[in-house]
Every structure is written in structure tokens, then in C-alpha cells.
Amino acid sequence: MRYLPHTQEDRREMLAALGVDHVDALFEDVPANALNADIDLPDHQSEMQVERAMARLAAKNVDAGSVPFFCGAGAYRHHVPATVDYVIQRGEFLTAYTPYQPEISQGTLQYLFEFQTQVATLLGTEVANASMWDGSTATAEAVLMARRITRRKKAVMAGGLHGHYADVVGTVTRFTDDAVTYLEPEPADPDAETQAIIDQIDDETSCVVVQSPNMFGHLLDLKRIAEAAHAKKALLIAVVTEVVSLGAITPPGDQGADIVVAEGQSLGNGLNFGGPYLGLFGTRQKYVRQMPGRVAGEARDADGRRGFVLTLSTREQHIRREKATSNICTNSGLCALAFTTHLSLLGEVGLRKLAMLNHRKAVELRDLLAGVPGVEVLNETFFNEFTLRLRRDAAYIVEALVERDVLGGVPVSRLLTKRDDVDELLLVAVTETVTRDDMETLARELREALA
């Protein structure tokens, strides 16, 4: 076995040194009836065999790069510079442990500190943590954090919150006494969504959870909602599923959100069929000790040199055990590295340009699709994704587009699995990787599929 350094002779000698003659003697405390059961699995394979088998599986999938591609809904296909992938593959990053020993972990700690600064800047918050698992779990953590801060139980989920995010919040609060209210989706009317949120805020409300751009692509007036929430001493939790949008849009923190969570996959991280992704989490300085997850902070070494350490660990499970702010332990370190490397490459000018390029392409596609018979564009505002109401069932049309070698978007019915009234809605996303040709192909094939 290529990963196991011992020869049979090594094993024999080491066992002899331990005074036992068979390795099973080392498993003496295991009940005999549970030792060495025969397991119905194949024996070891060479690197070449494994690579071939896995490559065969990979080849059974239609990768996004091989066809015109318009899927979004919380996962976006952006171009990731080759530099990013090089950086995260360096063994000193890839094979490092959680940086509990700061003297030999400054590489990880410094990039986390830089990452936190970039994230806080992007989200418009005072501080940010060192990452969460993804946007959806970060959202659930935010709801629990709001409860700790406000000591109130009622959480209000906006109708435009990503359906799966709402499900995750529902799951995490299922066995607590939190009272979660789910508002109706308003696929075509963001003002109605906003009003419904505001109407729900009362003196019992811990937080409102609002996504903007929302699941349907509409931009919401977070400032108005923040004011309404703050009037009742409730918190606004803002959710962003496409972090590139923050290169073009005023960040939720600047609009008054108390906690901002985001899915950071768009920068530095590939689609990966949904994971690993990267939860971003920012909040106000005053709430920092209620914040879940790890944080890196500045420190000095014995010689007075600047360095970084994991800090505020008294919030965390390995110190505080059952009183921890969260059970989260391993987070998304390497995804955070990919994110911060990509963002360091982009810089402010690059991120703004990238965001506006995404938006311009979306505007272009909107114009193209608006002319397709049987298609109604529901959005007046959007960033790089918008909703179509089709003449026919969206899932059916998406399947028809597959036949035409186009991955045409995400049917809303896949996000709101419990509803029957969204079957004709299709989410269409565009990024800088989409060409004019791709867009024209979509318009043409959609026209034919709907005909």
C-alpha cells in the first residue's frame, strides 16, 4: 500500500519490540465477535485504476464548461484564476491543522485575518469571522445568535429567502422553542415582500431574515426594513447568496443590517456540485462575543513582533462545551483561502469591474429573453439573475433544453419543494463566463422548446 510506510519486516520487528506476536493482540479490548468481520468491499487498487474509475464517473456528468450554462440559485460559475488553485494546493496550506499553535501557523492565521477584513469590508460590517460551512448554515447560526442577543423567540423569514436556506433554519430550530414565521414568496413583487416583512415585526421579534438580491433576483430596500426592525429592537439579518453582487451594490451592513451572512463560493471556489462552499458571517463589534465560529486576531510575540492567533475561543465548544455559542468546529479554511486569494487578485477595481460585467451580461440576457414568446421576465431590478414566468412547466423546459445541450437555469420548484404554485418559474443566472453566443443559443432553444 503506497500510503503505508511499513514493510512486513517493520511490522514484525515493531510487534516484537512490543512483546506481542500478532497485531490482533493490540486489539485485545475489542470484543472477539466484533473483530475482523469480513467486509464485502473490493481490495486495494493502484493509483491508475482508481484514477480511471473516478474519471469514468466524472465523464458521466455534463460539466458546466461544456455547454451554455445559466444555473445559479445560490451557486455561481465564475472564472477562478489558476493562481488561486495553485495557492490552495501548496502543502503548507492544504495539509495544515487548525492553527491552534500560532507560532507555526502564521500562514493560515494571517490569511484568515486578511480574509476577515475583506469580508467585513464587503458585507459592510464591523467584524467578520473566519468562515462558516456555507451560506445556509451561516443563516441558521445567525438566527440562533439573534436569539441569544435579543432573548426573543420569534424569527421572521422573508418570502424571498432561498427555499433551502429557509429549510435549514427550520431544521435547526425544529427542536428548540424558537417560533419561526415563513412569509409567502412574492416572485414578481419585491415591494409586497418588503411590506409583508415589516408588517410582521413586533415586540416579540428577535430578527427578520431578508435576502437581497432575493431568491428571485429582486433587490430589496434593506434600509427600510432595518429601520422597521430597529424600531422594535429586533435585528435585521441580511443574506447574500451571490457575493459578487457586493461589488456593485451597497452592502447590507451599510444599509443597517445587524448581521450579514453570505455564500462566498463565487469567489475562488468552483461549483463542486454544491460543496464545499464558504459561509461568510459579519456583525457589529458589540455582538462579537455572541458570534459563532472561529476568529483570528492580532497579537504580539515575545519579541514584540506582530502576529496572529485564534482568539475569543471562550465562546467555542472546545473551551465552553455545552455553553458554547455554536457547535461549529472545523469551518471552511481552505475555501476561505481561495476566496481571499481571488479577492486579493481582483482588488477593488477588479471586483467592481467583475460585478458590473456580470450585471451588464444579465441586462443583455434580460433583453434577449424578454423577446421570446411565452416568456415573461418578472424583474425590474436584479444583479446577475432573474426570474422568468414560462408558458409551460419550468422543470419540463429545463429537461427539454438539456436535449439541446443547454443547461438553462434552475426551476423554482426545486427550491420551494413544498409549493405547487411556482412550477412555471425559472431562475436564470449569467456570469462573466457566459458569452453572447451562449445567450443567443439559450434564447433560440428556449423559443423552440416553448413553441
Binding site: V50, A64, H164, F273, P276, R300, L354, K418
Partner: protein, 490 residues
């Protein structure tokens, strides 16, 4: 040499990415355009490479040396797995693509699920948990859902003092109350005391096996039977599964749920703190409550993704936006296939052999907490340092100067100044000998009163000892640009 922060060495005007010019067009941002400068900086590509290369060189990783971190299983991370995870057919597919365009991906999930169930002899598995702690949550939620289904209100979860902190944290996260389980002198659960603690309010016990003292809970089948008889469930923390893989199936021990840490046992890289992956196996009793989504055979052939809970099944919910850590699944499956049944058994055997070898090597110089045969890790305490003026922390930091990462310190809490050592199976005998030699040398130095080398350790690391207390007292969590001169002058 110090490396400046990107905010110090970069510039707001620089970018290392060439992009098409968006040009002028009528936006649809509804007046929410970002207008203010953000304050981000950019670097050209050459300087990005240099910045992160230099930072990386300040890190220690498995690639640079042995990682004796008990309960963390830091083993070799094969590059084959990195290569496979990057195949466009895996890396460049969207979670919401139509199912027939991702049959290979579903097959990866399905095949990995099959391997993990067979290795544990368990009925079902939830693949979506994003990390070990998330897997714990999954298991405990399944237990809550099962209890609810039975119409029972049990609220107590028994956890040993030696457990990982995530265990009690997770239990509380699910609305349980935690009670500490008594242990015996020899470092294991006190079965008699456990039985006395069982009762109608006990929902579950959470054990780690081998436990965090590195000992196999030899009465585990008796414990499982007692818990089941009392109407509770048995959650097993899978962090230490490396001692058992291919050799012992937890399902044969009577457990109801166990998470994997794919980034420990299955070598998907730790990455400086993630991403992890925490698939969680479930017994027949808990299987109906597994969260969505899961992969199942489609009626017309092929595989489908079951992701909706509307048709009256008993799934307890959804744990994450999509289907789990696909990028870790491909790596873990490649790892498992590479070893195979025969190789995985060797993994467990060599992991246990190596820990025993190190234990024997260190027994002369250090004080072992429990006499019992260790499994894949071995627990020492600070009795051998008594009166030397050296503490566990200083001892561990001095190990850095010898070229090694410190062992796990002050955990588990059951030992005074604990030092928990886990070499893993991917270390050679030579590398174990070097480690034992270094530890022995340090122990002798401590006993010889050379306190300075411990107090000042590490001396040869990129930085000297960092003041973590001061850092926590007034936390600085982000870079703030120095005040402009004018302002500073005020």
C-alpha cells in the same frame, strides 16, 4: 521575515485580473449601486503568488512533518485525490443541474455511502453534514426525531467528561440537557454507574470509541444493550474511527449513529481548518429520520436525488443548502478505493501499532495516564514534569524547536496537563523513532532543570511565543488603516 498584510502591500488601484470592460449600459440595480470606495486593495498576479507563498512557508503541515495530534488524525493527504476532485466532471457541475446530467456525481455519493455503511455495518447514512460537528448534530437530531415519533419527551444526554467539546455543545443545540457520565480509574466508562444513571428521561449517550484517552471501551456492547433497554439511543463520536476502519464495525457494537470525519479518517485534507465533511451513519431505528437529500435508485434506471419532504416521509429536515461536501466525497472515495478492504484493515492495524510503539518508546521518559493497552493514540500526563518548573505548554512548545508539531495538550480534561499523542499509520518507523528521540531528549532536559529552553520555546519558529491572553482581552479582528497624518495630528 515579516510579510506585510495585503492592505499594506497592495493598492486600491491595482488588479491582478484582466476583465472585459463592462462599458456603459442602463443598469437595473434600482438605485442600490455601491457608490463609496470600499477600501479593498489588489495585487498584481506576481505579487499575489509571492505573498501567499511566503505566508505558506510560515506554516507547518503534514507535508513538512509528523503531527502527533491526539484525536485529530493528521495523516498523509494523497495528491491523487486532489487531482480527481478537480476533474471538470466533478468540480464544474452545479448542484441544481438536472439529475440526468449528474449521474456520475450521484454515483459517487451512492458508492461512498455504500462503502461507509459497509465499513460500519449500519443501515443508512446521511451524506449532507458539512463537518464532524454537523454530523453530530445530524445524529442527535435523528434521535430527537425518533423520540418525537415515539411520542417521548426524553431530554437527558449522558456524555463522559473526556468527550470532545462538540458533544455537549451539539446536544444542547438540539435542546437536550447534558449530564456527565462517570468513568472508572482505568479511563473508561463506569458501566455500573452508567446503568444507575439510565432512566426514562435519558434520550441518548454520546461516547467516543476508542475514547479520547485512546482506550477501547471494552464493555461497549453491554453499554449499548443497557441504553437500548432503557429506551435510549447510542451516539458514537466517529473522530477516532481511524483505529477501527476495516477492522471493527461500529454497527457490531450496538451503536445507533456515528459521524465520520472524512478529513481525518479518509484523508481529505484538513486545510488549516476545513472544509471537513461529516456523513453520519444511522441504525435501522434511526434511518427513517435521516435528513434530505439522499440518493436513491430511480424507477426507470439510474439514480435520483430525493430532496423533498412533502410526501409525508419522516426525514427530520434539511441540514444544508445542497447535497453535502461533494469535493470531499470524491477525495474520500478515491482514498477508500485505493486502500480497499485489505488496505483499510492495515490502516487500523498500523495506526494502532504505531501508537503502541510510540507509547512503549516514551514510557521510560514520561508518565502514561492509564496502564491499559492504547489503541491509535496514547495519553500521557504531566507527572513526569512535577517539580521541574516545566509545564505541558512549555514542553509542547519546545517540541516545535525540535521540528515537530506539538501533541494535543490539556485534553482530555481527565488527565493533569494531558498530552495526547496520535502518530497515525502514515508515519514510518524512522519517523516514529525520531519523534520518540526528540521527546525523550526534551523530557531529560526538563528533568535536568533546563527550564529556559521551555520558557522561551519556540525559539526557532517564524515567531516567538504569542500572547494569546492579551489578544483576547482587546481583540483586533480586522486591519484598520493607520489614521491619516492630519487626523493623527489632532
Amino acid at each position: 521575515r515579516d510579510e506585510g498584510l495585503i492592505f499594506e502591500i497592495g493598492s486600491p488601484a491595482v488588479t491582478g485580473v484582466d476583465l472585459e470592460d463592462p462599458g456603459d449600459f442602463e443598469t437595473a440595480l434600482g438605485g442600490f449601486e455601491r457608490t463609496e470606495p470600499m477600501g479593498l486593495t489588489g495585487l498584481s498576479e506576481p505579487h499575489v503568488v509571492r505573498h501567499y507563498t511566503r505566508l505558506s512557508q510560515k506554516n507547518y503541515g503534514i507535508d513538512t512533518g509528523l503531527f502527533p495530534l491526539g484525536s485529530c488524525t493528521m495523516k498523509h493527504n494523497p495528491r491523487l485525490n486532489e487531482k480527481i476532485a478537480r476533474l471538470p466532471g466533478f468540480a464544474d457541475i452545479h448542484p441544481m443541474q438536472p439529475e440526468r446530467t449528474v449521474q456520475g456525481a450521484l454515483e459517487v455519493i451512492d458508492t461512498l455511502a455504500d462503502w461507509l455503511c459497509k465499513l460500519t455495518n449500519m443501515a443508512a447514512i446521511a451524506m449532507s453534514p458539512k463537518a464532524g460537528a454537523h454530523g453530530e448534530l445530524c445524529g442527535m437530531m435523528a434521535i430527537r426525531a425518533a423520540l418525537e415519533h415515539r411520542g417521548e419527551q426524553r431530554r437527558t444526554v449522558l456524555v463522559p467528561e473526556s468527550a470532545h467539546g462538540t458533544n455537549p455543545a451539539t446536544a444542547v443545540f438540539c435542546g437536550f440537557q447534558v449530564k456527565t457520565l462517570a468513568s472508572t480509574e482505568d479511563g473508561r466508562v463506569d458501566v455500573a454507574a452508567l446503568k444507575a444513571q439510565l432512566g426514562p428521561d435519558v434520550a441518548a449517550i454520546m461516547l467516543t470509541n476508542p475514547n479520547t484517552c485512546g482506550l477501547f471501551e471494552k464493555d461497549i456492547q453491554e453499554i449499548a444493550a443497557a441504553v437500548h433497554e432503557a429506551g435510549g439511543y447510542f451516539y458514537c463520536d466517529g473522530a477516532n474511527f481511524n483505529a477501527l476502519i476495516g477492522k471493527v464495525r461500529p454497527g457490531d457494537l450496538g451503536i445507533d449513529a456515528m459521524h465520520f470525519n472524512l478529513h481525518k479518517t479518509c484523508s481529505t485534507p484538513h486545510g488549516g481548518g476545513g472544509p471537513g465533511s461529516g456523513p453520519t451513519v444511522l441504525s435501522e431505528a434511526l434511518a427513517p429520520f435521516a435528513p434530505v437529500p439522499w440518493v436513491e435508485k430511480a424507477v426507470g434506471g439510474g439514480l435520483r436525488l430525493k430532496a423533498t419532504v412533502r410526501d409525508g416521509n419522516t426525514a427530520f429536515g434539511r441540514m444544508t443548502a445542497f447535497h453535502g461536501q461533494m469535493g470531499m466525497f470524491t477525495r474520500a472515495l478515491a482514498y477508500l478505493m485505493s486502500h480497499g478492504r485489505d488496505g483499510l484493515r492495515l490502516v487500523a492495524e498500523d495506526a494502532v501499532l504505531n501508537a503502541n510503539y510510540v507509547a512503549a518508546g516514551l514510557d521510560k521518559a514520561m508518565t502514561r495516564t492509564y496502564k491499559a493497552r492504547p489503541m491509535h493514540e496514547v495519553l500521557f500526563d504531566d507527572r513526569f514534569l512535577k517539580g521541574t518548573g516545566v509545564d505541558t505548554l512549555g514542553f509542547a512548545k519546545a517540541l516545535i524547536d525540535e521540528g515537530f508539531h506539538p501533541m494535543t495538550m490539556y485534553f482530555p480534561l481527565v488527565a493533569s496537563g494531558a498530552m495526547l499523542i496520535e502518530p497515525t499509520e502514515t508515519e514510518s518507523r524512522r519517523s516514529l523513532d525520531e519523534f520518540v528521540f526528540a521527546m525523550t531528549k526534551l523530557a531529560e532536559a526538563a528533568k535536568a532543570g533546563e527550564t529556559e529552553r521551555f520558557d522561551q520555546a519556540p525559539r526557532f519558529a517564524p515567531l516567538k511565543r504569542l500572547d494569546e491572553t492579551a489578544a483576547a482581552r482587546k481583540p483586533v479582528l480586522r486591519y484598520e488603516p493607520p489614521a491619516p497624518y492630519a487626523q493623527a495630528a489632532e
